[in-house]
Every structure is written in C-alpha cells, then in structure tokens.
C-alpha cells in the first residue's frame, strides 16, 4: 500500500472513531438501538383508566420518556418536553410519558407542571419495556425516539434537552 493511501486510511479511521466517540457520549445514548417486538402493541395503564399501547400514536414522530416523580433529573427535563410538544405538535411530534411510579403521585404532578401529552403508568411492565429498549440498568430518565414507521431510532439515558432532541426530531418530520 502506498504511503499516501496508508496515511489517508489512518486519518479516515481516526476521524470515524472521533465522530463515533463524540456521538456516543456516555449517558447520552444507550448502547444499542433496537425495536423490540411488540413495542407498539404492549398495553400500559393510562392515567384516565383503561390501557393503551404506544401504537395509539403510530404515524407520529414519537418521543417516549420513561420517568418518575421521585427522579430529580426527570423533573428537570419535563418542562422542556412540554414546550417542545406545544411548539412542534403541528409537525407531527408526539411525546408520551411512561411513569414508573404510583398513579396517585403521577396525577397531581401532571397537573402541577401542566404536562400536555399523554402519560401512561407502569411498574414491572414498564421497567421491562424500558429494559427491552436497551436500558439494562433500569435507570431514569430514559428517552426513546420512534420514527413514523414505528422504528426506534435513538435512545438517551439521563436527562436530555430541547437543544439535543430537536436536531434528531427534525430529521424525522
């Protein structure tokens, strides 16, 4: 191999590693992005009573946020989600919260901060769904972006923000 080609290849590999390193910053993304079978069909309890699967919102750009009232980093990002839902709803954005928590604590909190998107609640079933999406540690907050076809395209472990989410979503509108 010519010296010039070797250097070119070396630079290409180094830059690819750099880009991957930056893109997959720890805590900024789960290790794998998988679309578990039955993701959209699994019913979870809705706060209005009854059960609803995520498939209810198929066709929208879906941001599924696993959270809890006892989780401080979750509380930090929720006001940003509320703003984004209002601002981007006409472009097809739909947030859905999945609270791994008690309904009695979730309902007053929804009113308190004015959550303007649907919230489902769960315990083991919700933890299992989050785990099937790559959140092996069962840590919160955990956020998943699903495209209009129902495919998971991005997962984020730890709090995210309007600024981080928007570029990911814009590519899907």
């Amino acid at each position: 191999m010519k010296r010039g080609t070797k250097i070119f290849l070396f630079i290409a590999v180094a830059l690819a590693a750099l880009a991957a390193g930056l893109a997959l910053h720890p805590l900024n993304r789960g290790p794998v992005v998988v679309t578990p079978a039955g993701l959209l069909e699994t019913p979870l309890e809705s706060i209005d009573g009854g059960k609803q699967p995520l498939g209810t919102w198929k066709g929208k750009v879906l941001v599924v946020n696993f959270w809890a009232t006892w989780c401080a980093p979750c509380r930090k990002e929720i006001p940003e989600f509320i703003r984004m839902q209002e601002r981007l709803k006409d472009q097809g954005l739909q947030f859905v919260g999945i609270a791994i928590d008690e309904k009695d604590k979730v309902v007053p909190y929804i009113r308190e901060v004015g959550i303007n998107y649907p919230v489902l609640v769960g315990e083991l079933d919700a933890v299992e769904m989050s785990r099937s999406l790559g959140n092996e540690l069962g840590a919160l907050p955990f956020t998943v972006v699903v495209d209009r076809s129902g495919k998971v395209v991005h997962t984020i472990l730890g709090a995210t923000s309007e600024a981080s989410l928007e570029p990911i979503l814009k590519a899907l509108f």
Partner: protein
C-alpha cells in the same frame, strides 16, 4: 508529535466512549452493595457500601421480614448529609459506607428468616435507579449475608445479574 501519533491519541481518547454507553454506570447492586448480619438475637446490622459518585436516599430505606413473626423495630439510621435538591429541597442522603442497626425480636426456635431491604438511589452523573429490593437470609449462627439471587425489581426480570457482596 507526528500527525499519526496525534490522531492515534485522539482516536484512543475517544474510542472508549464508543463502547462505554451504560458501561460507565454501575449496576444498582454494584453501586449500593448490601450486606447484613444478625449480630445478636435482638439486632440486625445492615451495611450499604455506596460507590463514589452515587448516593442513597435516607427516607427510602425500608426493611421487612418473612415470616412476619420476626418483628422489626425502628431502624437506627445514622446522621445523613443534607443534599440541596433543585426539586425536592433539602433531602438527606448517604454516601460511602452506611451502617444501619435494626432492632429485631426473634420468636423462640427461629433458625433463619428473610430480610427484605428496599432502597433507592441515584448517580451524580444524572440518573436515578428504580427502587431496589434485595433479600438476605439471616439467622443465629449465620455470618454476614449477601443478597440472594433475584432480589431487585430488575433482577426479577432477568436483566442484571446480582453482584456478589464480599
């Protein structure tokens, strides 16, 4: 430094992040290592060894026994650090090792019983773990115990293998 060395340095420096992902976070069992021992017929000593960068909420520590005839008194938790939380205000948290003394009344003839310890904590990195529930078998003549196989919410789903406590 040559360009090659510089690029290699950048690549190696960033590469761990490419496979780190959640690997940077400990499992809750690693972050909050639990052990306990019945030190006399009327006292259990519970110990959590909390890894640096992690903390447990004092008011979320709960204990229960099976059979319930093994009666627990009010746990004597040590003084905790006050954490100024943006959302919850002043909350008491533990870091490092924490030893909790739990009064217990053993019915005559009790050889062993199960202690269930419930805890909840977070990592400074900005995530909180779902409440953990771990079980230990204690009894007179049984030394320091470590959590049995499938204690926590996640373990019971077959997700994360429990970490053995030394």
């Amino acid at each position: 430094m040559s360009l090659q060395r510089l690029l290699l340095g950048i690549a190696l420096g960033c590469a761990p992040a490419t496979w780190a992902g959640q690997g940077d976070l400990l499992t809750p069992q690693q972050a909050f290592r639990l052990s306990a021992q019945l030190v006399s017929r009327n006292e259990i000593v519970v110990r959590y060894d909390i890894a640096p960068g992690y903390y447990l909420y004092r008011d979320k520590l709960k204990f229960a026994t099976e059979p319930a005839a093994v009666a627990l008194g009010v746990p004597r938790t040590p003084k905790a650090a006050v954490h100024e939380d943006e959302f919850f205000g002043r909350v008491e948290i533990y870091r490092g090792p924490v030893v909790i003394r739990v009064p217990v009344k053993l019915p005559a003839g009790t050889e062993r019983f199960t202690l269930t310890a419930r805890s909840q904590g977070c990592a400074d990195a900005g995530v909180c773990y779902t409440p953990q529930q771990q079980q230990l078998v204690l009894g007179p003549g049984i030394g320091a115990a470590e959590p049995a196989g499938s204690g926590s919410l996640i373990d019971s789903l077959g997700g994360v293998r429990p970490e053995k406590t030394p």
